[in-house]
């Protein structure tokens, strides 16, 4: 894996490896010294074309806890449309030799354009309505933490599915790991074509009650005000009544169902305050897991896996019995051949 552009192109194995790695990184954030030297001397650029304090901060903390140098670049949309193109920006950054570029962009596919001109590992931190892979990974980590696994779970995703990169990445990830997904929301924002987004199929419901029944996980998406002005629904008030999550909805779900929201929340619109603040809401756990997942992604892309071709386990067995920086050349003083194995 050289880049993380989306969940759609990942295998179940790759996803599980990312989640397993993230789990060990979660412990680092609980230590007094929340830092390991794993990415010392590496540079991570957070290139954000859309305002997002939460995701940017999460990536920044993740990079710093791995000892990488994190640089934040926020580009306002207006200056882009007047000035430098995305590719020119990317070429300029590439000239500074970063190891990883984390990009958030309002245009779907923007991270793909970056891969054409940059050697750095590209991490998609949300591109238009396309994908938001680290969000799906942190959601999965949170679900795994509370449910023990993902296989066989029923997950309902509620809200503006059409414009949601979070919904797409989650649909891919959860179904690859064996969950069944249903979606619901206003007819204008939940096209029936979503039923065939993936091979396994997605259940598309008109009423959110039908999606939530018996589900183990209820994911609520943020409703954006501009959808009202674009005439996707008449008013936030009506949205809250018909598509907002209330306690009586939650009673339809499994008794131990959990509630998630990618934030930032509109309390009283897509989610009622008593649910947001209630014991079944894992919204803050999601934030904590966000750092761990992003550490895992940065570590595997900007550090460990960087030059890597897949290493066979046979090589590892030999290497393991030896010391860390075993020199492989025959004669002392010869150029050291890099060690290829992994110490576990």
């Amino acid at each position: 894996m050289k880049h993380l552009l989306g969940i759609r192109e990942l295998s179940a194995d790759q996803i599980v490896h990312l989640l397993d790695t993230a789990e060990t990184f979660r412990d680092i954030s609980k230590r007094e010294i929340k830092k390991v030297p794993a990415l010392r001397g590496r540079t991570v650029i957070n290139l954000f074309f859309e305002a997002s304090t939460r995701t940017r901060t999460s990536f920044e903390i993740a990079a710093k806890r791995l000892s990488a140098d994190a640089v934040n670049i926020s580009v306002s949309t207006s200056s882009v449309s007047k000035g430098e193109t995305l590719l020119d920006t990317a070429r300029n950054l590439q000239a500074m030799a970063p190891d990883c570029i984390v990009i958030r962009h309002q245009s779907a596919g923007a991270p793909y354009h970056l891969t054409r001109v940059c050697d750095a590992a590209i991490v998609n931190a949300g591109d238009g309505a396309h994908e938001h892979p680290t969000q799906a990974l942190l959601d999965a980590l949170t679900i795994r933490e509370h449910k023990g696994g993902i296989d066989g779970l029923k997950v309902a995703i509620i809200g503006d599915i059409l414009h949601s990169r979070v919904a797409r990445s989650n649909i891919y990830l959860l179904s690859k790991l064996g969950a069944t997904v249903s979606v619901a929301g206003p007819g204008t924002l939940v096209p029936p074509e979503f039923a065939e987004l993936i091979e396994q199929g997605v259940r598309v419901e008109q009423r959110i009650e039908d999606a939530i029944v018996d589900s183990d996980v209820v994911m609520i998406l943020r409703m954006q005000r501009e959808r009202q002005t674009d005439a996707f629904f008449p008013s936030m008030r009506e949205y809250a009544v018909h598509y907002g999550l209330h306690l009586n909805h939650l009673n339809l779900a499994a008794t131990d169902a959990i509630v998630m929201h990618p934030g930032p929340m509109n309390r009283g619109i897509e989610i009622s305050s008593e649910i947001a603040d209630g014991g079944r809401s894992l919204i803050l756990d999601q934030v904590t897991n966000g750092v761990a997942v992003r550490m895992a992604v940065l570590y595997l892309l900007a550090g460990a896996g960087k030059d890597g071709q897949e290493v066979s386990r046979d090589v590892n067995v030999v290497a393991e019995s030896d010391e860390t920086s075993r020199s492989v050349g025959g004669v002392r003083g010869r150029t050291r051949k890099p060690r290829r194995g992994t110490r576990n």
């Binding site: 193109t85 962009h105 779907a108 596919g109 793909y112 238009g128 309505a129 396309h130 990169r165």
Partner: protein, 444 residues
Amino acid sequence: MRLLIQNGYIIDPAQGLNTGKNLLVEDGRIVGVLGYSDPIPEATELFDATGLIVAPGFIDMHVHLREPGHEYKETIASGAAAAVAGGFTTVCAMPNTSPVNDNAAVTRFVIEQAERAGLASVLPIGAVTKNSEGIELAEMGEMKDAGIVAVSDDGCPVPTAGMMRRAMEYARGFDLPVIDHCEDKSLARGGVMHEGHWSLVLGLRGMPAAAEEVDAERDCVLAELTGARVHLAHLSTRGAIEAVRRARQKGLHVSCEVAPHHWSLTDEACQGYDTNTKMNPPLRSQDYIDAILEGLRDGTIDAIASDHAPHHADEKALEFDQAPNGIVGLETSIGLAMERLVNTGVISLERLVELCATNPARILKLQDRGTLSAGARADVTILDPEMTWTFDVSRSKSKSRNSPFNGYSFRGGVVATIVRGRIVHLLPEYSRSVRGTRIELAAR
């Protein structure tokens, strides 16, 4: 100056010709069709067309040549060079230049530039409304006098049915066809690709097929109301093609064209966000390709037009939703038609000539084109149905490189293009076919 195209196979649906004959051309006009063994007049240049198809010069009735105003994308000269390299002896230039071709001065400029370039004949299409804004009618009469062959607001389709009705009624008075790019903008809603599975996967805003179908239906209804000649451009949807089929059955003067990329690629090609797969109408799913093939087979579709739309590499290097619509198409049109339509048995070679020459001339009422009958302009396209070739966009005659077909291989292609009796394009591999006097090739 005389040219005899010998031993070829002549296909001219206008005369019902589909036979091995020689074609004699003199002073820019067709003299006539001769038997292989008929005596050859003296001082005649010879083109040995053994094994080749000799057809009336192909007409691409829908191209964007960008001049005046956007000469960095294409000029009339470079566009005309690309046209003859692609086998087209006549192209019709859409009016969305800067300034828009909505008055006789711009029309005359386009014609003069084309005459200066030689090569392909360029026939301008005038705007329907001033500045293509859909508010006031453009001066169609003046433009017709200056040389336009049709009117269209192409990329900025006439927004209201009321305005379109006036346009049709007025154009009818000058016997000008109204060409419409069918797109209901309120339905397309700024979509950047076909609305369907792939727009959901890619997270790109989709424009539904209905946006084209609604407008096509509207235009057919108005064609009935006004009795005008209506031509629907680059149709890409099943519903629009069916609308034309029904209108035709009613005897209305409705015709339509399709573009090669719409039968060659599906919206799956947008995966990877290559902006050379972005055009309007967009690439659609397989079901729509099937509808286009049906329409080509059963005769509903009258013409093949490339919608040649050059854009500079820097413009196409933008994010997918920011990049401009369109691809260059003049030099791949015939290759894609041979490869995907003729070789696969969807249409015959004769039907190909009909789609590329006979029908465009009929729709635009170009009396002396689209046929090899005696007295017609000596515009000839010579094809080799067996040659294999690969499209290399870096060697295109167009100024732009925005093609999704770079590296595609084809069986069957254009060998030579003859405009008014002059050989303006000849593949080097076939240069030995020509004997006699000097060959005038288009300089690059």
